[in-house]
Point group: C3
Chain length 310, copies 3
């Protein structure tokens, strides 16, 4: 029997069918339960994953490497782009065509948008996009979706607030398209300079998603089942004083949590700097570390499915 | 049955009970014999160790990684602190709380004293301190103790000389507290500028340890069962001429070995620069490479014990 | 039964006996078939390979690491020379004597000619030379030879052209000595400034090898069964205009391939910059990526043979 995703590359989330998304989430759930139960898996025994990180991303890399090891597989890693053949003038297509002879699946991160697709077109083994610049970061969006489902028990009927820099955040852009497949109400919370791009909002509304926009995080939280915080970076502002004035309004603290729904789920893609105060960490709904940990079963699911090992 | 150290972090040596120390040494001995016999172990099969090196230490890292592999386990590694999330302003506590979701045990090296304890307090998995700046380096002290026991057959009734920079040497500071648990006579051999700190000497004497201090390495060796050399670094001296005058007196050579006890054990934490002449390497008692190799079974013991796999 | 190469280091190709070469090629062939068939091997289960790269070479390193994993073994890696103990003044001999306690086999790359031999002399475990500066790169020459045999079905009766910078190319220097063992006619194609060194040409002719020298790549290809391209580096020329004038003549393109024998094998050690046009990639005889992939079974053969695991 051939797996539904066998031999396919995972480059973006919008081309996944609903059935493929269901299989990924269900497989991740099964793997997560196996990990929790301390069961040893060997789906990928004898297989090799190549992690090609043309730009550093320690935790995405370690999460994929841990996922591969948890499935009994092995890993070869390029973590430092400066010492790779790219420095000698080699094309990216040539580089991945060499590596496909060493590995059964390639995980790639690259600063250039479109590079993951370019790599997948050049080779016969599946490529998983670990982030391609301003492009996509599909495994982050999948683990975010998986987390919401685990924490809230469902993906339907939820109000999800996304807060912070919605203009530049690749993570939230990928996530909203996945959430749009479910019966979800979205609240976009940002300073006016950092609003969700109009073409995305239009797109989602055309799909029938109910969207509210606001600058008021406290108020948004009071009606939310899930709040997803992102970082506001100083360098996005032309006027530094404007940054100083605004940043305090997008810091989630205990006072805000106490006015929110009692079962609110608080998320963040991490690393955080100051977007969520550490005294929030003790709340039951503070899910950001569990969210990071969910990267392992979700990436296990992707690795096993595309190589036909599940 | 729960292992005596199961779930515990290894942060320093002075909080280990005598029973825990015994179990570590006995387990390391068993693992060393298994390695020598070519037996394949799988205590840690399916488990993942995270090596988080916020400061480089190639041989400590490789020794831990080899130990994990010799137990059938897998490894994920941060070797280059510059590409980690710390650069984005993330706290160390947040960093380890993410990594604990990827791994069953964390080995950490960090330039700041107290950081290993801070990490252990933040997570639920055991943390093994691979060196925290001016703080502790417990696995080095344990492998040193293991080496003395292997080479001399006992830890009791020995005269151990420690020579070189006793003021700044984290390694010797940790080691003397372990040796103080046994019936050991200590000889501190150093230039007056680099003497063992008085608070340590006082501490040890209060515990009943017999201590002699001298500047004469040749003479100390003649009454020693073990001599432990350390490096004298030029930058520790205010007066460079003083350094030039002294350094020759702390170079162990064949002439010194020939006047020592015939079964003397010569140790060094490595890397050496010129503290032991290479023509000493051929002596039966030249134990410094065996000492480095003992890092593997000792770290195997620690990994297996804290994860309850032995 | 002891393997023919068990316990031996692989430092250069000219000291391999014909029988050893036969065993290496036959073992690689067996491993390649096992990989193709998806068979899981465990010859090196429980064993550790140390990759010590004192100079970066990502693809040689990954190829060795993949080879070790494909045999069920584990890997510890020094990829970044700047963080190693060499920076503290440690000798290379001391460094490998520490590492031999962690591993069953050492793969070393080092910028200094003769360093691999020096390492092998210092330790008891086998050392495989992954390139020692202007010295040797035996595993590249072996995988090149293996590739010619796979592609042409034989190593006898072939005309092999080597083109580009034959003066400075370590790879071609090692390869010609292996080919000289067979009934091979060699054509050296280079600008006059970059001719094969006279001592090598003399050596080979003394062994009875038929050699032709030419500057004309198109013409050489028409009579060749195999053409091996190498890069011409600008920095080798005193006069930059001379470089500009010449480089075009050593670019293999479709027009040249169409005038060559229909079953010509085209090789390149990679990375390529512009030595072979990408529109050549689609030809059946364009073997350079298969050549890179052959590094895995050939290195598997070497690892298994020197450790007595095959």
């Amino acid at each position: 029997m051939t797996s539904i995703l066998q031999g396919k590359s995972i480059l973006r989330t919008d081309t996944l069918t609903d059935e493929e998304l269901d299989v990924i989430l269900a497989t991740a759930d099964r793997f997560e339960k196996a990990l929790k139960a301390g069961r040893r898996l060997d789906n990928m025994a004898g297989q090799v994953m190549a992690a090609m990180f043309f730009e550093p991303s320690t935790r995405t890399r370690l999460s994929f490497e841990a996922a591969m090891h948890r499935l009994g597989g092995d890993v070869i890693t390029i973590a430092d782009p400066k010492t790779s053949s790219a420095a000698k003038g080699e094309s990216m297509a040539d580089a991945v065509r060499v590596i496909e002879g060493y590995a059964d699946v390639i995980v790639m991160r690259h600063p250039r948008k479109g590079s993951a697709k370019e790599a997948a077109d050049a080779v016969a083994v599946p490529v998983i996009n670990g982030g391609d610049g301003a492009g996509q970061h599909p495994t982050q969006a999948l683990l975010d979706t998986f987390t919401i489902k685990k924490e809230q028990g469902t993906l339907d009927g939820l109000t999800v607030s996304l807060a912070g820099d919605l203009k530049n955040g690749r993570t939230v852009h990928s996530l909203v398209y996945l959430l749009a497949r479910f019966d979800t109400r979205l609240v976009f919370v940002s300073p006016s300079q950092l609003r969700m791009p109009a073409h995305i909002t239009d797109d989602l509304q055309a799909k029938g998603v109910e969207i509210t926009e606001t600058e008021d995080l406290s108020k948004a939280m009071q009606e939310s089942d899930v709040v997803y915080m992102t970082r506001i970076q100083k360098e996005r502002f032309e006027d530094p004083e404007e940054y100083e004035r605004l940043k305090g309004a997008y810091v989630l603290d205990v006072a805000m949590v106490e006015q929110a729904k009692s079962d609110i789920t608080i998320m963040h893609p991490l690393p955080r700097v100051n977007e969520i105060k550490t005294d929030v960490d003790g709340y039951a709904g503070a899910a950001y570390f569990r969210q990071a940990h969910n990267g392992v079963p979700v990436r296990m699911a992707l690795l096993a499915l595309v190589t036909g090992r599940e």
